[in-house]
């Protein structure tokens, strides 16, 4: 995952500067209520849910206690200085709230909206910024939702994973940030940190990107942005990173229509999609169009170690579902990948295995349920051995039609886990560096989904990323290939 980042004084400085935002020792919440449940109350409850260990100071003009915690009248009157303040007051009150901090607050995340998104309210955003500068506070937002960092035990999302991982995300949109953590978390993505930056009145995506580049806890970077702000600084940061960590960008407002939506959404002024694509070639930036592609690419980078010397191209596919694998072969080809025929030695060895009828032994291998059940699923390891006899492919994509192993009467063994386990053993025997991916195809029924969730957990614990459909795996591998091609280009 990613490359080693050489420690330097500058990078150490960046890391220290952002520590209070992601791993605060003290938090204040402005806007929690004694009578109803606001986002402020939710924030305090989320901190409790994460077993946050530092002090939490509710700020309330009158109440002595909020959410069972002692409250203080302003940000300037807490017992200890505040690392991270969460602000959920109405926009017109936000500047004064920050002005009261008097140098005792490091970061304030302003949830309130109604600032720079609309032309006539820009003045209020300026006022907020002046108040923050005067009080020595750095601002995240306004018009955003929060910060999530498992190691810092902070979150703004109910049910966010407690265990950390390598994926660091910046999202301009708060709501999309929630989707990324929730849907991504379900898929097995584990995060170092996520922050939503909203209008980026003070700190923006570039500042966070620069931090993630220097952050040893982050090995993969994901960005959602509608307007990057200082584009030349963005390019500089990516050029300096030089592919040491994969960066996946989901850019809103790429098309003309998207641009109009962006302008009315966060006051974004987007530029031509062509230039973004140029940048993807020049910096290795991985561009994706949808949330699902974004998550699948991040998942792939979390699990797979990019190969700079041999960009992914040749893919071996096997599993049950002949039609699905024929369709997928076309899909891999469109993604710039190949599903080539096997060499003679591999074909001979596969023929010798005398599979049950209905098995097709060229690539893609169509192995019906009966074939995958041979040796309780461990037949997969022997198939992988046979494939390696004719040379090492760049990736194996195994796919299982989960209903076959959930709803049929033969459920003697844990077939899926055995398939993956035995395949990985075969890879170790061959000392190969093939990317392994598993696709668990579901019919969406409750029983199958439950089985799929359990299988996914088991298989990802073995270090193999799991995808919902074959085209999703193709997209994720194409992202890995793009990054690997960039790495190879830089090495030349």
């Amino acid at each position: 995952m990613g490359g080693d980042v050489r420690p330097s004084a500058r990078e150490a400085g960046i890391r220290e500067r952002f520590r209070p935002l992601f791993e605060p020792r003290t938090c204040a919440v402005v806007g929690a209520s004694t009578s109803k449940v606001t986002l402020g109350n939710e924030m305090i409850r989320h901190l409790r849910g994460m077993e946050y260990g530092g002090a939490v100071y509710p700020i309330h003009p009158r109440a002595g206690e909020v959410e069972g915690l002692k409250a203080y009248p302003s940000l300037g009157e807490t017992p200890e200085p505040v690392d991270f303040a969460y602000i959920v007051v109405a926009a017109p009150q936000a500047p004064e709230t920050l002005a009261m901090a008097r140098g005792r607050v490091k970061y304030a995340l302003v949830v309130s909206s109604g600032f720079g998104e609309r032309e006539e309210r820009r003045g209020l955003q300026e006022e907020l910024l002046r108040a923050a500068r005067g009080a020595g506070v750095r601002v995240i937002g306004p018009n955003c939702l929060g910060v999530y960092c498992p190691n810092g035990r902070v979150t703004f999302i109910a049910g966010s994973p407690r265990d950390p991982g390598p994926v660091g995300v910046v999202s301009q949109s708060g709501g999309l940030g929630v989707d990324i953590v929730r849907r991504g978390g379900t898929r097995g993505i584990r995060f170092s940190r996520l922050v939503t930056v909203g209008n980026s009145a003070d700190l923006g995506a570039n500042d966070i990107l620069e931090f993630y580049a220097a952050d040893p806890a982050t090995g993969v970077i994901g960005l959602y942005t509608e307007a990057i702000g200082d584009g030349r600084r963005f390019v500089e940061i990516l050029r300096d990173l030089d592919g040491a960590k994969p960066v996946v960008l989901m850019k809103g407002g790429m098309t003309e229509q998207g641009k109009r939506a962006a302008a009315s959404h966060t006051g974004a002024l987007a530029s031509d999609g062509r230039v973004w694509r140029a940048l993807a070639e020049q910096t290795g930036l991985v561009l994706v169009d949808t949330l699902d592609e974004f998550l699948d690419a991040l998942l792939a980078f979390q699990f797979l170690k990019p190969r700079a010397d041999r960009p992914t191209r040749n893919v071996v596919m096997f599993g049950n579902g002949g039609g699905a694998s024929v369709l997928a072969t076309d899909c891999f080809a469109r993604a710039g990948l190949d599903v080539p025929r096997f060499g003679d030695e591999a074909v001979r060895l596969l023929e010798e295995m005398n599979f049950p009828p209905g098995t097709s032994i060229d690539n893609p291998i169509d192995a019906p349920g009966g074939t995958l059940r041979v040796d309780d699923g461990r037949v997969a390891g022997r198939i992988v051995d046979a494939v390696y006899a004719s040379g090492e492919p760049d990736a194996f994509v195994m796919h299982v039609n989960v209903p076959v192993f959930t709803l049929s009467y033969d459920q003697e063994a844990d077939y899926t886990a055995h398939m993956v386990e035995s395949s990985l053993e075969a890879q170790a025997r061959a000392a190969a560096r093939t990317h392994f991916l598993l696709v668990l195809r579901s019919d969406g029924s409750l029983q199958v989904e439950e089985r799929k969730i359990a299988d996914r957990r088991k298989v990802q614990a073995m270090g193999v990323p799991v995808f919902d459909e074959l085209p999703d795996a193709a997209g994720a591998l194409a992202a890995v290939r793009h990054h690997e091609r960039f790495l190879r280009k830089r090495r030349r």
């Binding site: 584009g231 030349r232 530029s271 140029a278 070639e281 030349r492």
Partner: protein
């Protein structure tokens, strides 16, 4: 030549672009090949111009009011003698008079050797600043938008990738019996426009767009046949 002086003169004259002759002098000063040429005030200068150049020649009108010269009959090609040049200049003069009184003179150039017409350009992106563009000329740029962009500065590997990126790259490489264009000459021109120290960066703040259209690329070199520099106005 003094690039700043040419830009200053154009701006003082209230123009947002450099005229063709100044543009080509800027290109030449930056190491990009341009045809050998002479400026003449009118048809009477034909004999002198012909004596100083190797035919076949091209004659073009120079007027701030005429941007698309060939559309108004302002260009004649394949001129082989002094007499032909003189009559070509008279025809251009009368065609141009129909559009403007402001004719500054005429540019007489040697014709570029046969080759592929490509376009090398630069523009200023609102987010990323100077960018460089490459495409095949004519319908490939105008109809199919078959072009490649990169953010400045580019390295040689970027320039080579820009060529690879064109859908019509096979034509440049001799498909359908055409000549094989010198890719080194294209890479060299792209770097002189968009590389480290290329014109888009060295003239940043003065020039917002450069359009070398066409650049004629033969098997062993490239010649800029027309050039347009869009100036930044205050």
């Amino acid at each position: 030549m003094d690039v700043d002086a040419a830009i200053g003169a154009a701006l003082r004259a209230g123009r947002g672009v450099l005229d063709e002759e100044s543009g080509k002098r800027v290109l030449a000063a930056n190491g990009i090949g341009v045809p050998a040429s002479m400026s003449v005030a009118g048809p009477d200068g034909a004999a002198d111009a012909f004596a100083g150049l190797s035919p076949p020649l091209v004659a073009k009108v120079v007027s701030p009011d005429i941007v698309h010269k060939s559309d108004v009959g302002g260009v004649k090609v394949g001129i082989g003698s002094a007499a032909e040049l003189e009559s070509a200049l008279r025809e251009i003069e009368s065609a141009a008079r129909a559009h403007t009184d402001d004719i500054e003179g005429y540019l007489v150039e040697e014709m570029a050797p046969a080759g592929h017409e490509v376009v090398v350009g630069g523009s200023t992106d609102p987010t990323f600043g100077p960018v460089v563009m490459f495409g095949l000329g004519g319908i490939f740029v105008e109809v199919f938008a078959d072009v490649a962009f990169r953010v400045c500065p580019i390295a040689p590997v970027d320039a080579r990738e820009m060529i690879d990126e064109l859908k019509a790259v096979k034509l440049l490489r001799g498909a359908r019996g055409g000549i094989r264009a010198s890719e080194e000459a294209i890479v060299d021109t792209l770097l002189k426009v968009g590389g480290e120290g290329g014109m888009m960066l060295s003239l940043e703040g003065k020039v917002t767009e450069i359009d070398i259209n066409p650049l004629i690329v033969s098997g062993n070199g490239a010649v800029a046949v027309d050039a347009r520099f869009v100036l930044k106005r205050d």
